[in-house]
Symmetry: C2
Subunit: 497 residues, 2 copies
Amino acid sequence: MRSHGQAAWELLLPAAAAPARRRGRALQEALREAERSGRLAAGTRLPSTRALAADLGVSRGLVTEAYEQLTAEGYLRSDRGAGTWVGDAARSRLGGAPAPGATPDPGGETRAGKALDALGPRPATPARGAGAPAVRVDFRPGTPDLSLFPRAAWSAAQRAVLARLPHPALGYPDPRGLPELREALAGMLTRRRGVVADPERLVVCSGVAQASSLLGFVLRSRGLDAVGIEDPGSPEHGRLFASTGLDTVWLPLDEEGLRPEPLAASGVRAVVVTPSHQFPSGISWSAERRAALLDWARAVDGYVLEDDYDGDFRYDRAPVGALQGLDPERVVYTGSVSKSLAPGLRLGWMLVPEALLAEVVERKRTMDLGNPVLDQAVLAEFVTRGAYDRQLRRCQRAYRERRDALLSALAEHLPGTGVSGIAAGLHVIARVPGRYGPTERFLARSAEAGVALRPLEEYGTARPGDGDVRLVIGYAHLAPAVVTAGIRMVAEAVGRE
Amino acid sequence: MRSHGQAAWELLLPAAAAPARRRGRALQEALREAERSGRLAAGTRLPSTRALAADLGVSRGLVTEAYEQLTAEGYLRSDRGAGTWVGDAARSRLGGAPAPGATPDPGGETRAGKALDALGPRPATPARGAGAPAVRVDFRPGTPDLSLFPRAAWSAAQRAVLARLPHPALGYPDPRGLPELREALAGMLTRRRGVVADPERLVVCSGVAQASSLLGFVLRSRGLDAVGIEDPGSPEHGRLFASTGLDTVWLPLDEEGLRPEPLAASGVRAVVVTPSHQFPSGISWSAERRAALLDWARAVDGYVLEDDYDGDFRYDRAPVGALQGLDPERVVYTGSVSKSLAPGLRLGWMLVPEALLAEVVERKRTMDLGNPVLDQAVLAEFVTRGAYDRQLRRCQRAYRERRDALLSALAEHLPGTGVSGIAAGLHVIARVPGRYGPTERFLARSAEAGVALRPLEEYGTARPGDGDVRLVIGYAHLAPAVVTAGIRMVAEAVGRE
């Protein structure tokens, strides 16, 4: 059973935008055309009528009618209760269909040579083997599934917001953010992440990258000259802090969190950490290390930037509360909607200690005067009405299914592979046995087969000498069947028969 | 004849958001209630049915019906072809109505203690006489009329955008901006402002303030330590450039533009100017001074930031082309939608010389990774479909009417007042004869009467000794009747009988 490639929904969007009286027919024609052109390959599973209707912003009845019509025509095959697939009849029509399970790089256009949000995931360098075949399956971490963005609900909220927002709200914004959004976010973060969230201490910003820049400037103006980052961690932090005049220092991590001695010896007075689900290792910091970090911060009169980049996606256990809840005067907490809604919204938040608040707000003001108000008002509406929680549940279900597909595929096609960091987030760490290696060959062969991968060693200074191939595998943006196909393609490419 | 205060439309918005079947009745009830409560005072002129329908996002028929019904009931009075007013019948019901013509500070909530876009207009300090009566008419410059924001058209464009935008466009943005917006803006700016606009040189940013910060950082990293600003000009630039590590140097202006000798002697290698309609003096730089400035920039290997803050609003003559068109390699051109649509959108642009482009884009990237994509796509739609041009014409008509009301009121109530900078923009400079002064008394008396004014001397170093009272009067955000009433209130307060 294969699942739908994202590209299909793009094909259907113009049909969904057709005038109401032609919309149903336009949708059916677009579906047929998607199959004929090979964009929807035989065996592809279609989403539920409810899900597709929500994605396209059309009525569910319209989608149901289209499925029924095309099933009658043989384009689709439907099993009661088990879903709808692209049928056999269509297969015979296919010309140059794409390889089964492969999908065009869903984030391709927005990725190449561009940066991603702070800590997480930065597919900055092209996959190994530039000049090699085009990327057919892209496992580089960093992008959520953009087709999960709730277009219809967002559109309805936009309309409601424009109908009710008083005129003065369209004027120059409060640099801290729209009061109604700060109120809504404070409640949501308190409830979901166990932070201490006073709306007066919350600053709406454009995301974790801007939060890092804001804090970097404030720390620099207080005389700091370096910030510590986790090793392994995200090299992108180096670029962000460099733009504020700060150096970055790699600080070694073990399986419990930052090691206390190198931290103390480093001389830094500020660190960036991901204690809930460390990026990229996936560990959750131990309680002792959390306490030790805060003791250190108090002792050196320092600050901790907690990047809660994927705190919303937990699969097998209760969420780990944010570090900020333990000491709101030493921890700057930051998060965004980049993984839960869309990075293109450029909307995030930070909770700021009292001692830094005025300077952070003034920096935000000179940087851009404050975030745009309309998206802020829409997000406030989303959070207040429960639509944001629903969206998180929807993403969580989808991502867990993809993670499970990845774990199964690794076990089946690359047996012996150890996997860690699986309890949360949008990626895992895979340690592929040395017999498939070495790493250079593994990456080159995969790239030749059209699979883009990122090795763990790009995220820090460690160069383990055990011969295993360590990968950071992002799966959230890929349909389960694509995940499975991609791992199979890797196994075939690197196999040593 | 008085015109509607802005507050009234806020009162009507909840009614416009009512379910369709109840919307007509809700609108009528809201209008009645607005009159009863005194928010719509007797004699207030109502907008045309077309305008109100557009503002509220409801059908014109609904508004026509409401007007007819309330006219029949005596709430409204209608003169064929001349408009609709709040009628006499309503007047008798009024309790504590606001003073005729006065309006609650329309930007009040978003103003106090907050900053405005760069150059322009910054009502940063409260009106003189803090502790005095509340502001009833606010002539401080800087805010457009937020009720002119085309809510219905914007909402429709949002919906269209969400229906057609391909999924990858929701991912991490291009830090330079959405390609379709850069294309649309380049065409629009070439046509309207005579700039040389290559989409590859256009960077979408959050407004003129961010453009100043971006350029400031880039110039600082090239070793510059100061930027020249026009005197008189906007003190806000000092704060923006200070945040990038640059000092600011006031450079004296005469009636033709920046005086060449002090510029040459200052030692700076970058200046910020407003040559099309200088803020606040209102002059348009002479051709000689434009050429001299560019000669200077080439000679010192320097740069000019051209803030085209109100280049779109010309009343009595053809627009003056932007300076950038004369030398795109020496001039960084910047503008925004803050005066034409709404400051809350935080959406602007800059055209960047080739030599600075990569650094500006990298700064934009580390500042926020790029502007949010949805508003960018909506603006692209607006520009491409001609809706942006229509909006500019609509604002231009409204603002010209208000300017004319201001000039008439000054001539009638403060005779002898000289007015300059009237050909364009959202404000004028008024030189009130010394017999109404001195300035301190003039401002204090006006504040006691509830009228907020800003003296010219807050915008630079000059302290003219001729005894006249020099004011920067913003009028764009005030209905004509409010403008007239405000000037009358000032005249009554400062009169020397």
